[in-house]
């Protein structure tokens, strides 16, 4: 009678403790789902609620409103401010994306001089602090301008949008340049051998393939610019952070309200940007697998 052959261990059984030795296989991305709440998220959100609620409990005595009540009372105003941040982020993103697409195309265009200029502009705006660019826009752009005899006022928030669109433009320009450069040169050669002009090649063959590659960094940029819009409070635009500090002052400047109020602002941005961030990650992983 022969002994049964020794059973080979499956890698999964062989070494739970040695799993690090196994080749790394990225898990296949599941269909996109809204971020599930994991422990860390719960802890984060619970922390914020504690800050808000805890402060509320401690101070809820006498005529003074609790922090939650304060937030509740000013909620429409605060949300209006937050909406303004979103509006600025969307507008500066749209403006910056359009301008950045143009600048990026000039950077890889045929005209040598334009290429140089576009490159220099891209580098300049990409390597300046966003806040400096914001100041630059606030003070360099006139508060009104005249078209055909009509004087049009240019409100501060419009100038801020222009200020935010400058770094978006420069980063977008690099995203475009990088995506185009990342395509294999065979695509250009095939198009050339089929008698496509340079312009046709760009718009019909190169750019459509780049959209996929540009989407994740572009969404990342959007997240960043959304969070950066609070800097507009420094130059006096009535966005969420400005209103938060005004609410704080209106409530008598109570120190115990500082953390809950600003915590609330933080929570709003987090809840807005986090899903975008997750979706970007998901797209990145999906595109990597498809390549």
């Amino acid at each position: 009678m022969s002994a049964p052959p020794p059973r080979r261990l499956e890698p999964s059984e062989a070494g739970a403790p040695l799993a690090v030795l196994l080749p790394f296989r990225p898990p296949p991305p599941a269909a996109f789902a809204w971020p599930r709440l994991r422990l860390v998220h719960l802890v984060g959100i619970a922390g914020l609620v504690l800050v808000v609620g805890g402060a509320a409990h401690a101070q809820a005595s006498g005529a003074r409103l609790s922090a939650l009540e304060v937030i509740w009372r000013w909620l429409p105003l605060l949300m209006w401010g937050f909406g303004f941040n979103i509006l600025m982020s969307v507008l500066s993103m749209a403006l910056g994306t359009a301008a950045g697409l143009g600048l990026g195309l000039l950077q890889i265009g045929e005209n040598r001089l334009l290429r140089r200029v576009a490159w220099a502009a891209t580098q300049f705006f990409r390597n300046s602090p966003w806040l400096v660019l914001l100041f630059f826009a606030m003070f360099m752009i006139p508060f009104q301008f005249t078209v055909f005899g009509h004087t049009m006022p240019l409100p501060d928030w419009v100038k801020a949008v222009i200020g935010f669109s400058l770094p978006v433009m420069a980063n977008m320009s690099e995203i475009v340049r990088g995506a185009v450069a990342s395509l294999p040169s065979g695509q250009w050669e095939a198009a050339e051998s089929l008698a496509f002009s340079r312009r046709q090649t760009m718009w019909r063959i190169i750019l459509p393939q780049c959209v996929k590659r540009m989407l994740p960094p572009w969404m990342n940029l959007y997240s960043l610019i959304t969070m950066a819009t609070v800097q507009a409070s420094i130059v006096g635009v009535s966005e969420m952070l400005t209103l938060t500090s005004q609410v704080h002052a209106a409530e008598g400047g109570r120190p115990d309200l500082l953390a809950p109020l600003y915590g609330f602002a933080m929570l709003c941005f987090f809840l807005y940007c986090y899903p975008i961030e997750r979706f970007t990650l998901y797209l990145e992983r999906r595109f990597q697998l498809n390549q």
């Binding site: 294999p184 695509q187 050669e189 095939a190 089929l194 008698a195 019909r204 063959i205």
Partner: protein, 257 residues
């Protein structure tokens, strides 16, 4: 949109070589890759260019459709001078189709779209006519039914056949093939070679760079052997393979066969 006017004829008649290269020279930086190459290709002829890696075969055939500009010499395609600063590239490239080693299909468009794009957007031909022709070409390369497939969903051999159909859709007078089976596994090589052989037999003028010696022997009317930027030896396949004269050819064939 109206179709483009018919191409100029440059005074060329079919009894002249369809392609004529005279003393073509090309350097990349300090390296001279083509050191005076001359060859003629008659209409309906299939020629094979063979030679060791780095001998300038790809550079040579890329010069013919002006993907690579040359330094000196003459290249005429149906009488049109390619080495001309005012070259009408569109006119040249609608006469010369090219197929690459890496297929280079456009991955964001379906097989059928890949074939239709250039006739539609470059030649501005009628969509219905172009689509009918594209479907016929798909059938010709034995891919009927795969019209809606994206390149990523096709095997290497299938992609290469779509690439051949894509070049044919421009109705070229000559086809350039640059090691089009080098990236394929042995099984799929056959289907691609079969497609090329049919083309050559139908009378398409073909210039092939290949490492498939058996195929070159069967299909080519003439073989050119290049080494270090010059044509060392050329002749009809029978004499070229059975009775090579130059020691470099002998050494190369000795290694490969």
């Amino acid at each position: 949109m109206a179709a483009l006017s018919p191409p100029e004829d440059f005074g060329w008649t079919p009894d002249q070589p369809l392609i004529r290269l005279v003393d073509v020279r090309k350097s990349f930086g300090a390296i001279e890759v083509l050191k005076g190459v001359s060859l003629d290709v008659a209409k309906g002829e299939a020629i094979c260019i063979i030679g060791p890696s780095g001998s300038g075969k790809s550079t040579l055939i890329r010069c013919i459709n002006a993907l690579v500009p040359i330094d000196s010499g003459t290249i005429r395609v149906e009488g049109q001078e390619v080495n001309d600063p005012d070259l009408d590239k569109l006119a040249l490239r609608r006469k010369v189709g090219m197929v690459f080693q890496q297929y280079n299909l456009f991955p964001h468009r379906t097989a059928l779209d890949n074939i239709m794009m250039a006739p539609l957007h470059v030649l501005k031909q009628d969509r219905r006519e172009v689509e009918a022709r594209a479907r016929a070409l798909m059938a010709k390369v034995r891919l009927a039914g795969k019209e809606k497939a994206y390149p990523g969903e096709l095997s290497g051999g299938q992609q290469q056949r779509v690439a051949i159909a894509r070049a044919l859709a421009m109705r070229p007078d000559v086809m350039l093939f640059d090691e089009v089976t080098a990236a394929l596994d042995p099984e799929t090589v056959k289907e691609v070679l079969l497609t090329i052989r049919e083309l050559a037999e139908e009378g398409m003028t073909c210039i092939l760079v290949t490492h498939e010696m058996g195929f070159a022997r069967e299909v080519a009317d003439h073989i050119y052997f290049t080494d270090a930027g010059v044509i060392v030896e050329h002749g009809p396949p029978a004499s070229f393979f059975d009775d090579p004269r130059d020691p470099r050819t002998q050494a190369f064939l000795g290694q490969i066969l």
